[in-house]
């Protein structure tokens, strides 16, 4: 799975979690860009990613990521394992 594929699926995950089809993710997107992206929705995102990519994540690893780009890279390393 390329990083572009990961970003594209991640966009679906975000749209689903925030119930907003208008969301467009780029590598530069941060929590400040999406109004409802708070700590509670962050947990939903983590669980939704685990389901979507069939992986297990460590919440504290995710919480230190600065933007969507870093998240995509992190997902890529986990998926590659």
């Amino acid at each position: 799975m390329t990083n572009d594929d990961i970003l594209s699926r991640l966009t679906d995950v975000f749209r689903d979690v925030f119930d907003d089809e208008a969301i467009i993710l780029t590598r530069e997107t941060t929590a400040d860009d999406i109004e409802e992206w708070d700590s509670l929705n962050q947990i939903k995102l983590i669980l939704a990613c685990e389901k979507a990519y069939g992986i297990k994540l460590r919440p504290r690893d995710i919480n230190t990521l600065a933007n969507v780009g870093e998240m995509v890279d992190h997902l890529a390393t986990i998926i590659a394992r």
Binding site: D16, D19, S39, L40, I43, L47, P59
Partner: protein, 583 residues
């Protein structure tokens, strides 16, 4: 505008939790939808995070007919929130409080071999104290089974086991719960979703929600059902289709020998199982009706002479078999039984009939029946359409009394002379003393009645006990049956009037002229207290409009914000033919 009850027919446990939560979130964002239903201020006190639960809870309450406004205390502070005098909970002034503790709150677990009964008593005492303090209706989740068992197989059965302590405490709480408290059985809920999903230790460490998201809709639905039962919005009557619902095949085409019913075949057994479940509902007070597209005489034959039938004609309060439109027939059933459409549940295997009834009668709960008859019981049971938090004698006798009512309605429609007909029923009324045997029912009828009710004022069991001499509770019977306590008035002397704080009467005994006889008894009470008149506060609602027509007949006239009447009843008042006997 969509009726909230019709928003989601399927049981929440059978839908993906994410979908239900998403729908709930959309629903809560829409203030117009939120305003539908009976307004209810709900305070939610929990020992864990409820942020993910909140929207779904409001949504499930809307499905039960409530327009809920939710206030939540910070989690982990149940007792402090309740005991904080002049605090935010008091400011909010809830109509109902939801208490959600977990097994982590248990603080009196005995050591292995310790005094388990004593420990459970100490545990329960803390909660009954909170119930007393709250003095409003409470729905409480009982303690959930823990996810691990240090004592292994003995954990649930010997003193010192946490599971044993959970079970004992839950039993004790259930036995001590007063009229205004309803418990939701966490042991059963956890078993139903499975402990693997009930406990999500990882999520608990992340955000203090102890269960997985799959639990959210199931828990919210159970809490909302209990609230409906507690506050009188439970449904009362199950309307059943016949062909392919109570038996397999069409009785009109196949005849008695051709329909599939009986434990001899797999499919026949599924229908027997469904009938047994329906029978169990009837035995606890759910009224049964039949609505079938068939010739009446043919539709009745299996009830009369098929060996596989569990249900008998006696179990059916109202039997409608004809080829008319089912929505019209269901309306007629509601009229005959004197129930509102919002009291009805409809089971039909035919998706076209279901869709039609949903469209025509959105107030009726139409069960989403699965294709497989073996799953009928689950589909109906999952609806929890008939929540019950107290089993009273009246619940047990209700089905009979609706059958009697349907017979009376049929004969009245047949045009018999009203006075001689009513007299021929030998109606009798007894003034029932307020006491241990009657208190639950008195509080229940005051809370549950919607149609014959002066105003929304509610009374706690404590208040009724304290004011027992001023409470008029009436039992009614005739030669068909004993209807139990069917009318209650709560009064107090106000100046030279006996003021009626509230007056309710069960719709099962409408058109039996009880209201006129009750008025005479109230006048007697007034006279005995040296009063010269009667007064009351009538607050019109969409449901109690019949009171407006009745009050002038009873001699009441508006005076300022109140209605007043002289002690003497008007000459024109009909004679009730009811004999009064002492208890």
């Amino acid at each position: 505008m969509t009726n909230p009850a019709s928003l989601l027919y399927q049981d929440p446990a059978t839908l993906p939790a994410e979908d239900v939560m998403k729908r709930a979130k959309r629903f809560v964002k829409n203030p117009e939808r939120l305003a539908l239903g009976r307004p209810l201020k709900v305070a939610l006190l929990s020992s864990f995070l409820t942020d993910y639960l909140a929207d779904t809870l409001v949504f499930m309450l809307a499905r039960r007919g409530f327009a809920a406004r939710l206030w939540r205390a910070p989690y982990g502070a149940i007792a402090t929130a309740v005991l904080d005098q002049g605090g935010p909970l008091e400011d909010f002034a809830p109509d109902m409080v939801l208490l959600l503790p977990s097994h982590r709150d248990l603080i009196h677990v005995p050591p292995p071999g310790g005094d388990a009964a004593d420990a459970a008593r100490a545990e329960a005492a803390a909660w009954t104290m909170l119930w007393d303090r709250l003095a409003v209706p409470v729905v409480q989740l009982s303690f959930d089974p823990p996810g691990q068992r240090p004592l292994g197989e003995l954990d649930g059965s010997v003193p010192g086991g946490l599971l044993d302590h959970v079970r004992r405490t839950n039993r004790l709480l259930a036995s001590q719960a007063p009229q205004q408290v309803a418990l939701v059985d966490a042991e059963w809920l956890a078993a139903r979703v499975g402990l693997e999903r009930w406990h999500d230790h990882r999520l608990y460490t992340m955000c203090k929600q102890p269960f997985s998201f799959d639990v959210v809709p199931v828990l919210a639905a159970a809490l909302a059902a209990a609230a409906a039962g507690l506050l009188g919005l439970g449904r009362k009557c199950l309307v059943l289709d016949l062909d392919n619902t109570l038996w397999g095949g069409e009785i009109g085409d196949l005849g008695l020998a051709g329909i599939t019913l009986g434990t001899e075949t797999a499919e026949g057994e599924a229908f027997v199982t469904f009938q047994r479940y329906v029978k169990a509902l009837a035995q606890r007070g759910v009224v049964l009706a039949v609505c079938s597209k068939n010739l009446d005489a043919i539709a009745r034959t299996p009830f009369e002479s098929h060996g596989g039938m569990v249900l008998k004609l006696d179990d059916i309060a109202c039997f409608m078999a004809n080829f008319d439109d089912k929505a019209g027939n269901i309306r007629a059933i509601a009229r005959t039984l004197n129930l509102g459409l919002e009291s009805l549940v409809f089971c039909d295997d035919n998706p076209v009939e279901r869709a039609w009834v949903r469209e025509q009668l959105p107030e009726v709960l139409v069960v989403e029946m699965p294709d497989e008859p073996a799953s009928y019981v689950r589909a109906l049971d999952d609806c929890a359409a008939f929540p019950l938090h107290r089993l009273t004698e009246e619940d047990l006798g209700r089905a009979k009394s609706y059958q009697a009512r349907a017979r009376v309605a049929e004969r009245l429609e047949a045009g018999a002379d009203m006075d001689s007909f009513l007299a021929s029923l030998n109606p009798r009324m007894t003034v029932e003393p307020v006491g241990a045997g009657s208190l639950d029912r008195i509080v229940q009828i005051l809370a549950k009645t919607n149609q014959f009710k002066l105003n929304p004022t509610l009374f706690s069991a404590e208040e009724i006990s304290a004011r027992s001499v001023d409470v008029l509770a009436l039992r009614f019977s005739d030669r068909l049956q004993d209807y139990g306590i069917v009318a209650v008035a709560v009064t107090h002397v106000d100046g030279d009037c006996l003021h009626i704080d509230n007056w309710v009467m069960s719709c099962r005994v409408f058109s039996r002229r009880l209201e006129f006889q009750t008025r005479l008894l109230l006048a007697q009470m007034a006279g005995a207290r040296g009063c010269v008149g009667l007064s009351l506060d009538y607050m019109p609602s969409p449901k109690n409009s019949l009171i407006a027509d009745l009050l002038p007949q009873l001699g009441f006239a508006p005076a300022g914000s109140r209605w007043v009447a002289p002690i003497t009843a008007p000459q024109s008042m009909p004679i009730s033919h009811i004999l009064i006997s002492e208890a």
